[in-house]
Amino acid sequence: MDEVNTAANTNHVPSSNFAKEVEAMPGGADIAKCIQCGMCTASCMVASTTDKYRPRKLIQMILLGLREEVLSSDLPWLCMTCRMCEERCQENVNLAEIFHAVREIAAREGYIPPAFKNAIDVVLKDGWMLEDAYSDFIEDDRDDLGLDTDLSWNKKFVAKLKKKYFKGVFIK
């Protein structure tokens, strides 16, 4: 009780304007409506399998302005966009959209969890995810089915994509 009355704790100013930044992003507009009731966490599929991820706490961190902490963590990337929280949220907060906006900010600033980054690197390099798994057997199967066995067009497509959109901004 004593702690609550100290000046430091009654000064409820976010440590940064991160919430405002998210709010300005497409899909992030409703973040300020959150009343921290916990409906989202209790509804969350991911939260039910891991203690690490708590959507309410993540929203709280954003509202408190913990910009670096949020952007550098894996948490915004763990939402699997099932939108059960949005279905039940009584304040109509669009959590999946907010986390999408946060991921966009994080990616822009180079905070991408290795697992996601590796996946993208593989796609950009090979043109698709599963080149390692592509074997003679699959080639034969494709041949039998009358499908094109040459998948190098994937690479051409990705090269075009890279040239048009990526411009080497954050891919090393």
Partner: protein, 921 residues
């Protein structure tokens, strides 16, 4: 409708009459009562309008009030009696606003007062009527958890303490029956095993429980509401069971004549119409004589319907009952003149000579040997006369007479019986069950075929030439017209032919004295059945043309009623049309009924029945009949069995009461229409309505209330167990933007805390948890109450909205999934009982009232306040005030203070009006 109403109330029009000094309070809850009392105690007249059968509103349902834990009824009941004792308050219960029109500063209000079928001045509330009532329906006062009878008071302290008959109208079965047999009524008695009373209800309208129980076409079953759910009730077979039961158990009471009147009535024709008419007249006490040309009474029932459908002992028994009532019979008597009967001293004559002339088919060689007409054929078969029938028989026609003839021919030994009908099996007019039975017995149905010529050899039938038909456009009767297919003629060898293509009235019959149509049927009024000759009435087939037995029986009853009125010199037409609303499909709650099969009628096997005339349908057993009666949905709630009328010692119950419209002129209106609870079943994740042990707060109030369905025992309704652990889920249907209720309902936090405390009071050892988003303990003593719940009562509070409730199917226990937002931990917590605390919403019907008043509502649907700060009870309409929850959620003290405030605002107007009147006067 809305637009015409609005035209009728121009704001600027100035009233002609004096300004009214009385007020109307709409809604008899605690706020409305307070407003009414405060106005009345200042000496003005008040009309207090209440939709339900008692004032008291929601507060009467609630167990305890917060934060003081006072007994709600103990506070409310003195107020109820204060209202009822105040001579300046006129309470209109069971009434609603029908229309409101502005007249200067006055309001002209029409009130629709529903009939409660109990005289408010006579009823003493003794409850003698309750045990005899056979109808039980869910008790809405107990939130549909317990049951009440069709005659009820909502709660013991109901004000006025007058019983109400819940009669929604006329059930489809009774409304459809041409004889108006009270099917719902006798079925209600049957489900309680009271077969004698059930039969008595059938016999109020028809003398033929057993006969019509066998031969009726049962229009009622086609309209039976149960048919919308699974299959219609077997209504016909149920009243047949009643008659059979009486014979089997010898429970019939001896019939004694009770002829009290002088005026003799003659009935011409002893068929179903005539017997029915005589029966009704004899019940009224008239001496009746039936004139019948045949040796015995019964008409087509005796001489046409085969014995395997209607055993003659049943018919004889029921006719004997009528004769035993003091009806005289003159058999073998041809009446030569109806007027002659009047001259002989009969005060009235009923003509029911029927339509028993077989129609001709109009094809060549119809007079050949071996051609029979159905009526004649069936009569000869019924009376045991010799019939020279060949081996191959063709029956022409598709009505009941045709099917009967075919089945009789089979029983008389014909090897090959073919029924030729010109339309398809859809249009065939015979009773479907009879058609099925005939098919089972090996009758061939040659549909879409028409005979065009009878082929003869030495003037004896040798064959029939037919043409195939197809169905064309519908004709005037709505059935598709059969059209011959060119070049489809074919010939069929037969030995006999029975023509059953309809009957008509005897063109030379005695009815021709009256004004008749070209088909020799009498032109009689459809309702009163009067003919052009005063004192002569006609009914049955002689009026309608060949139709059904039940219609004829109905006509007999209608005519008897007219004859009674005629003899007494009363207007016959007045008040005869049906005034009861026919209960519509959507008004019958079928949501909790499971689909069940209709009881099957046991039948004699085909082998044993096709060679003799023993009865085919064997009748229901007692168990089958009772089970079938249980399927009745009791559409109209009150079944008019009138057991209550007999039980009431003060003659207070009157089933002929009608709704009334009252007109009031008032100077001010106070809206105290209350609220409705949010329907929590729209949250599928909480399982309300799906899981037995998830209930809402008002249901909980009734459970813990000593006058509730469990007598105040807090148990699970599913299995009767005492819940060891109870969870309360707050903020459901309130502060939910997605569900259209963004506002806080103000009362849920505190009633939730109160309910949690009451759970501890009932079962101190149980564990009680409240799941909340915020606790808004904003009023006087509320925070202390909340604190007391935590510390003194040990109620656990967890901050976190519940995401979902899961049921354990074996134990019925419920697991809530919630995040404790104070620790960030996710919990799955098991409870025995879950109580959802729903938010509150504007009441149903407030929108209609707003349209009447030409008043806008807020976005949420509450009454809009002109100025929330200075005039918190004034609406935008001058002279209209609001209190209670009509303008937004309020707790009881706030509702009551708003009631007083609204009363004060209203009396300012009334006092000004009074002063003006005194100055003028």
């Amino acid at each position: 409708m809305v637009t015409t109403k609005q035209e009728a109330k121009p704001e600027a029009a100035s009233g002609e009459g004096p300004k009214s000094t009385s007020a109307l309070v709409v809604g008899g809850g605690v706020a409305g009562m307070q407003a009414a009392l405060d106005i009345a105690n200042q000496g003005f007249k008040v009309h207090l309008l209440e939709k339900s059968s008692s004032i008291g509103g929601r507060m009467a349902m609630i167990d305890k009030t917060f934060p003081t834990l006072d007994c709600s009824a103990c506070i409310l009941t003195p107020r109820l009696s204060e209202v009822s004792r105040n001579s300046d308050i006129k309470t209109h219960t069971y009434a609603e606003v029908k229309s409101i029109a502005r007249d200067g500063t006055n309001f002209k209000v029409k009130i629709h007062k529903r009939a409660r079928y109990v005289d408010e001045d006579k009823c003493s509330g003794c409850a003698d009527c309750v045990p005899v009532c056979p109808v039980e329906v869910p008790n809405e006062f107990d939130q549909n958890m317990g049951f009440r009878k069709a005659i009820y008071i909502p709660f013991p302290q109901a004000t006025p303490n007058v019983y109400t008959v819940d009669k929604r109208g006329e059930p489809a079965c009774r409304a459809t029956c041409p004889a108006e047999v009270n099917a719902q009524g006798f079925i209600a008695m049957m489900r309680h095993g009271r077969f004698d009373e059930a039969l008595e209800i059938v016999r109020r309208t028809i003398p033929f429980a057993g006969v019509l129980g066998r031969v009726c076409i049962s229009f009622c079953e086609a309209e039976c509401e149960r048919g919308m759910l699974d299959h219609s009730l077997s209504i016909r077979n149920l009243h047949r069971f009643l008659a059979d039961y009486e014979i089997a158990h010898g429970t019939a009471k001896p019939v004694t004549p009770n002829i009290t009147k002088e005026e003799r009535v003659a009935v011409v024709g002893g068929g179903p119409a005539g017997i029915s008419c005589a029966y009704q007249l004899a019940m009224m006490g008239y001496p009746v004589t039936i004139f019948e040309s045949k040796p015995k009474l019964g008409g087509l029932l005796r001489y046409s319907i085969p014995e395997y459908r209607l055993p003659r002992n049943i018919l004889d028994g029921e006719i004997k009952r009528v004769i035993d009532m003091g009806v005289k019979v003159r058999a073998n008597t041809h009446v030569k003149s109806v007027k002659g009967l009047l001259e002989k001293g009969f005060k009235a004559v009923f003509v029911g000579t029927g339509a028993s002339q077989s129609n001709k088919i109009g094809v060549p060689h119809e007079d050949a040997e071996g051609v029979f007409y159905a009526i004649d054929f069936l009569e000869r078969a019924s009376t045991g006369q010799e019939i020279a029938l060949g081996a191959r028989v063709a029956v022409i026609g598709g009505g009941d007479a045709a099917v009967d003839s075919a089945r009789v021919a089979k029983r008389l030994g014909a090897k090959d019986v073919t029924l030729i009908y010109r339309r398809s099996h859809v249009e065939i007019p015979a009773i479907p069950g009879e058609v099925e039975d005939a098919k089972e017995e090996g009758i061939k149905f040659m549909l879409l075929t028409n005979p065009i010529e009878i082929l003869t050899a030495t003037n004896k039938v040798a064959g029939v030439r037919c043409v195939k038909m197809r169905l064309g456009e519908p004709d005037y009767s709505g059935r598709r017209r059969p059209v011959p297919i060119p070049n489809s003629e074919f010939t069929m060898a037969i030995d006999s032919m029975i023509i059953a293509i309809g009957q008509s009235a005897d063109p030379n019959g005695v009815q021709n004295e009256c004004d008749c149509t070209e088909w020799a049927t009498v032109n009689a009024d459809q309702i009163t059945l009067v003919t052009n000759i005063p004192g002569v009435f006609a009914g049955g087939d002689v009026v309608t043309g060949p139709l059904t037995v039940v219609k004829a029986v109905g006509h007999g009853r209608q005519a008897a009623e007219s004859i009674d009125l005629y003899i007494r010199g009363v207007d016959m037409a007045e008040g005869r049309h049906k005034h009861l609303h026919r209960v519509q499909s959507y008004e019958v709650d079928k949501s909790h009924k499971e689909s069940e099969d209709r009881a099957a009628m046991p039948k004699q096997s085909v082998d044993s029945r096709t060679h003799n005339f023993s009865e085919v349908e064997l009748g229901f057993s007692e168990a089958t009949a009772t089970a079938e009666a249980e399927r009745c949905l009791e559409c109209a709630v009150c079944c008019e069995c009138k057991q209550c009328v007999a039980a009431c010692t003060r003659d207070a119950i009157d089933h002929s009461m009608r709704d009334e419209v009252l007109e009031l002129e008032v100077g001010a209106i106070i809206l105290a229409t209350g609220y409705k609870l949010f329907d929590v079943s729209v949250y599928p994740q909480f399982g309300y309505g799906k899981y037995e042990n998830v209930i809402h707060a008002m249901e909980y109030e009734r459970l813990i209330n000593a006058a509730g369905p469990t007598g105040g025992h807090l148990i699970r309704l599913g299995d009767g167990k005492i819940p060891k652990s109870i969870g309360f889920i707050q903020c459901v249907g309130a502060r939910d933007v997605q569900k259209g209720v963004p506002y806080c309902s103000r009362v849920c936090c505190m009633y939730g805390v109160k309910n949690a405390v009451m759970a501890k009071e009932h079962h101190p050892e149980s564990s009680v948890s409240v799941y909340y988003a915020d606790i808004r303990a904003f009023g006087k003593g509320f925070e202390e109450f909340y604190e007391m719940a935590k510390t003194r009562f040990g109620v656990k509070f967890m901050r976190g909205r519940v995401a979902e409730v899961m049921e354990n199917r074996e134990t019925g226990n419920l697991t809530v999934r919630v995040e404790d937002t104070e620790t960030g931990e996710l919990h799955d917590i098991e409870h025995d009982l879950i109580v959802i605390s729903p938010g509150i919403q504007p009441p149903e019907g407030l929108e209609d009232l707003a349209v009447e008043l030409n008043m806008g509502l807020s976005d949420e649907g509450y009454v809009d306040i002109a100025n929330k700060v200075i005039t918190p009870v004034d609406t935008f309409i001058p002279g209209v005030f609001v209190c209670g929850c009509a303008d937004g959620p309020k707790d009881i003290p706030d509702s009551v203070s708003a009631g007083s405030a609204a009363a004060m605002r209203a009396t300012i107007i009334l006092a000004r009006n009074q002063k003006e009147a005194q100055e003028d006067g």
